[in-house]
């Protein structure tokens, strides 16, 4: 849509600007403030320069948390994206069953995150949970609070359970926009199922899939509540992801300086990914606008 230039439109945006500035800029400035100061308590602060940033960049703790975080995000993307596409391809396209599937699939997305954690905490317990009990009955030694691999598997299956539907719903929205004529043409050409997917469905889904991947990446990158409820970051530090570590540092140990430096670097990474996301969004908008 061609837009008119109108500087007065700023007045319409002003309330949002004020509100978000209050809840984003002021807190962020507090973080900046802490990141360059040190304290001996009693609210006496002195200038520490970039020491905290240097400390954090040199600390094993942050790098290992980042490593775990990247591994987690990579694994869940590798599972959720193909699985989501696969499910979307098999969803009924119209009618009652389509709505039925849509509603049931959306359900996990709308459950409070700590309840998601609670559900899986219970589900995985060997004594009272269906999953844990079944695995135990099959003779598999499964214990997500003690064993690192079990903890990882639980957290990943939980995330797949929680968010695959998002990928599936977006892919489904993309599939629904493909005109029937495309499929008819493919049938006349005797295209195989794979060729239909590769040359018709995948290109048409590319835009929404890009959004899905970025959203899943961002959201998994700041995951906190679900693994915290299930494993508490343990056993040891095995499932301590960036946000969990940050909260531990800031609210648990009250190490304000390092936590603030950590926050800012974390935020910069998020900003960079947001920029990619934004570029993708505007490209898609521009393409569809034609």
């Amino acid at each position: 849509m061609n837009k008119t230039v109108n500087q007065k439109a700023w007045f319409l945006v002003l309330p949002v600007l004020v509100l978000v500035a209050f809840s984003a800029v002021i807190p962020l400035m507090t973080v900046v403030n802490y990141s360059v100061q040190d304290t001996f308590g009693q609210n006496v602060f002195f200038w520490a320069g970039l020491d905290w940033f240097k400390d954090m960049l040199a600390s094993d703790r942050m790098w290992s948390a980042l490593g775990r975080q990247l591994m987690f995000s990579a694994i869940i993307l590798a599972i959720e994206v193909p699985l989501g596409i696969y499910v979307a391809l098999h969803m009924p396209k119209k009618g009652f069953w389509s709505s039925f599937c849509l509603v049931l699939m959306s359900l996990p997305l709308l459950i409070p995150w700590n309840v998601v954690g609670t559900i899986w905490q219970i589900f995985g317990r060997v004594d009272i949970g269906l999953l844990g009990y079944t695995l135990d009955a099959m003779g598999i030694n499964y214990n997500y609070t003690q064993n690192t691999i079990d903890a990882w598997v639980t957290v990943i299956v939980m995330d797949v359970w929680h968010w695959t539907s998002l990928v599936a719903l977006l892919a489904f929205a993309g599939l629904r926009s493909i005109p029937d004529a495309y499929y008819q043409a493919a049938k006349i050409d005797q295209a195989s199922r794979w060729a239909v997917f590769r040359y018709i469905e995948l290109p048409k889904m590319a835009g929404v899939l890009m959004i899905a991947i970025l959203l899943r990446f961002m959201d998994s990158f700041m995951i906190y509540t679900e693994p915290f409820v299930v494993t508490g970051g343990g056993p040891g530090n095995a499932t301590t992801f960036l946000s969990i570590d940050l909260v531990k540092m800031a609210l648990g140990q009250f190490d304000l300086g390092p936590a603030a430096a950590f926050s800012l670097m974390y935020f910069l990474v998020i900003m960079a990914i947001s920029w990619v996301f934004y570029t993708v969004m505007t490209t898609i908008d521009a393409r569809e606008g034609k």
């Binding site: 008119t4 230039v5 109108n6 439109a9 700023w10 945006v13 949002v16 600007l17 509100l19 978000v20 809840s23 984003a24 807190p27 499910v87 098999h90 969803m91 009924p92 396209k93 009618g95 599937c101 849509l102 509603v103 699939m105 359900l107 709308l110 459950i111 409070p112 995150w113 309840v115 559900i119 219970i122 589900f123 004594d127 009272i128 269906l130 999953l131 998002l166 719903l169 929205a173 993309g174 499929y183 008819q184 195989s192 199922r193 794979w194 239909v196 959004i211 700041m222 906190y224 960036l242 946000s243 926050s263 935020f267 998020i270 900003m271 990914i273 947001s274 996301f277 934004y278 908008d285």
Partner: protein, 294 residues
């Protein structure tokens, strides 16, 4: 894979038929797709069913025997939550700040989304991007500064504090979703209305808002939802008076171990609001989660 190897046989054909739902007489029949969907939905529903199952059992039954359905059905767990103020006030608190947040978010997002969808102005693209970064900001980064900010202005442990804090991600979300819906309304409608002598506020409320009613509904739903599911900020900003249900749930861990039945019942009750309205937004849910795009 086998499809390509045997192109003349049934599998490829039956797949194709499913992709073309043109004939209205087509019935749902047990096909490969149905099996896939059934398995996936089973995977999604099992953990939820298990929670429901546990919420209807007594603690002794949960711990002593393993059963796939409650042997002696009891509603005692729900009764405990709905009669004990320290429990049900958690729901009331959550609802209060969630509703406050939804109202605030929509009120400020509506005009802004209109501006973004209709006009170009200095810095509009940067502003739009900046809003997005707030939606994407990790709550963990903001937990401590929020705590200090709201403590210093005396709003700690009030509903409005949580409502304002959740604006951090809900206002951008509402702006993006509404902008997505508004761009679908042709600009000629605005121009015609202005020619007919409508003032901006009157046009906006009388003509424009009814046109994007579904968009407003969807945006409200998503603001409600994201505020409802968030725990980290709401827990950090409250202690007693405005404590959300999500934080109250940790109370079940007592000296005598965990009260599993009540915990499960509380969990089931938090799923109810989403489950009630999900049907109405089913066709927009992808759009909402994708921030108004798709």
């Amino acid at each position: 894979m086998t499809d390509t190897a045997t192109p003349d046989l049934n599998p490829a054909d039956s797949e194709m038929v499913i992709q073309k739902p043109r004939t209205s007489t087509r019935r749902f029949r047990p096909s490969g797709s149905a099996v896939v969907m059934f398995l996936y939905l089973l995977f999604l529903m099992l953990p939820i069913y298990w929670l429901l199952n546990m919420s209807l059992k007594t603690n002794t039954e949960i711990l002593s025997s393993f059963s796939l359905w409650p042997r002696n059905l009891t509603l005692a767990n729900y009764e405990k939550i709905l009669t004990d103020p320290s429990w049900y006030m958690g729901y009331v608190n959550s609802l209060i700040y969630v509703v406050m947040n939804t109202v605030i978010s929509l009120a400020v997002a509506l005009p802004a989304a209109y501006a973004f969808s209709r006009y170009s102005f200095m810095g509009d693209k940067h502003l739009f991007f900046w809003l997005l970064t707030n939606r994407m900001a990790p709550p963990a980064v903001f937990a401590l500064p929020f705590f200090q900010l709201y403590s210093s202005i005396g709003l700690f442990d009030t509903h409005i504090a949580v409502a304002l804090a959740h604006c951090l991600f809900n206002v951008p979300l509402a702006v993006w979703i509404l902008e997505g819906f508004m761009r679908g309304v042709p600009k000629e409608i605005d121009e015609t209305a202005y020619i007919d002598g409508y003032s901006f506020p009157r046009f906006f409320i009388k003509i424009f808002m009814p046109l994007i009613a579904s968009g407003i509904g969807v945006a409200a739903f998503f603001c409600f939802m994201f505020s409802w599911v968030e725990l980290l900020l709401s827990r950090t900003l409250t202690s007693v008076d405005a404590k959300p249900i999500a934080a109250t749930m940790t109370r079940t861990v007592g000296a005598a171990g965990v009260d599993w039945g009540v915990l499960a019942a509380a969990g089931v009750l938090t799923i109810v609001p989403g489950a009630l309205v999900i049907y109405f937004v089913r066709n927009y849910i992808a759009k909402g989660f994708a921030l108004g795009r798709v």
